[in-house]
């Protein structure tokens, strides 16, 4: 469980109201990973969504291109919200990291039950992804649209 005050700091959850955050708070867990650890392997089933609390990440796409995330609130593992799906990129910790994590299946169920909340989350994830558009392939964009 992660406190509501902590969750509402993150961009993808910023628009949620306290009642919605309370649901997420119960589902959220804290996770740590060490420098050099591969947090997500591209192609493996996407089961967890990660929000970066602290640390630095590299998101590497299968064609070798990459982006690095250094600010709290960075989201990785969004494929977990488009079930069934595999991760589209590998994520490696550049430094020791802490994350807020959500089980993809639980979050997806919650989002499907509460359409208003789902829309807010998906809209914010789209916003995050649009900044990475040069790296997204058409297939990924289509999957995201279907997820909405």
């Amino acid at each position: 469980m992660i406190p509501i005050d902590e969750l509402k700091k993150y961009e993808i959850l910023a628009e949620l109201d306290p009642a919605e955050l309370k649901f997420l708070s119960a589902m959220a867990e804290a996770t740590q990973a060490r420098e050099g650890e591969v947090l997500i392997q591209a192609g493996l089933p996407a089961r967890t969504l990660y929000i970066l609390q602290e640390g630095d990440l590299m998101v590497a796409f299968p064609d070798g291109r990459a982006i690095t995330l250094h600010k709290p609130g960075g989201v990785v593992g969004w494929s977990a919200l488009v079930s069934p799906a595999g991760y589209t990129a590998s994520v490696t910790c550049l430094t020791d990291c802490t994350f807020v994590t959500f089980s993809g299946s639980e979050l997806l169920r919650l989002v499907q039950r509460n359409v208003a909340m789902g829309t807010k989350i998906m809209r914010n994830i789209s916003k995050v992804l649009s900044r990475r558009l040069p790296f997204l392939q058409e297939e990924d964009r289509q999957r995201l649209r279907k997820g909405r």
């Binding site: 961009e11 990459a66 982006i67 250094h70 600010k71 609130g73 960075g74 590998s90």
Partner: protein, 164 residues
């Protein structure tokens, strides 16, 4: 006369011990030179720029403790010295072979294969310092001196699109 007595009579034991000592000290000297060669090169390069660094380096040759203190002092003062400089140099050499712009995951892979320690955090430090920058195309390159001076002190930056 033969066997051990012949060896003793001809000072064979002494000659053998001398031979072992010569080889041992020769190899030890070679190891010492190889160990300190990169430092000597760096000292040669930095001598004119920073006499203070030279003093610290000379002290560090004789004392492990003072060497650590010198490195700490350098870090506090933000100097680009020591191990980190070695890694940056090594990474620059690797990227020279890869051509710029380069793929960051490939650089990390190659650097690890070459035995560089803690590559991830060192590359992260270069990214945060703005010494290495990411482009909107997902490829990375070394910043020009102008870019580095503009970015120093900023929170980060490997490209606006990467800051989420």
């Amino acid at each position: 006369m033969g066997g051990f007595s012949a060896i003793s009579a001809g000072n064979g034991w002494l000659i053998a011990a001398m031979g072992i000592s010569v080889v041992f000290f020769g190899l030890a000297s070679l190891a010492f030179i190889i160990t300190y060669f990169p430092r000597a090169i760096r000292w040669w390069n930095d001598h004119a720029k920073s006499p203070k660094y030279t003093v610290q380096l000379l002290r560090s040759l004789f004392s492990q403790r003072s060497r650590k203190a010198a490195v700490r002092a350098d870090t506090r003062e933000g100097h680009e010295t020591g191990e980190f400089d070695d890694v940056e140099e090594a990474l620059r050499l690797l990227t020279a072979h890869m051509k710029e712009p380069f793929k960051l995951p490939r650089l990390i892979e190659v650097a690890e294969q070459r035995g560089l320690a803690r590559v991830h955090s060192k590359i992260n430090r270069l990214l945060v310092k703005g010494t290495m920058v990411g482009g909107a195309d997902g490829l990375f390159r070394w910043a020009t001196p102008n870019e580095t001076s503009k970015q120093s002190g900023s929170e980060l930056l490997s490209g606006e699109s990467h800051k989420d």
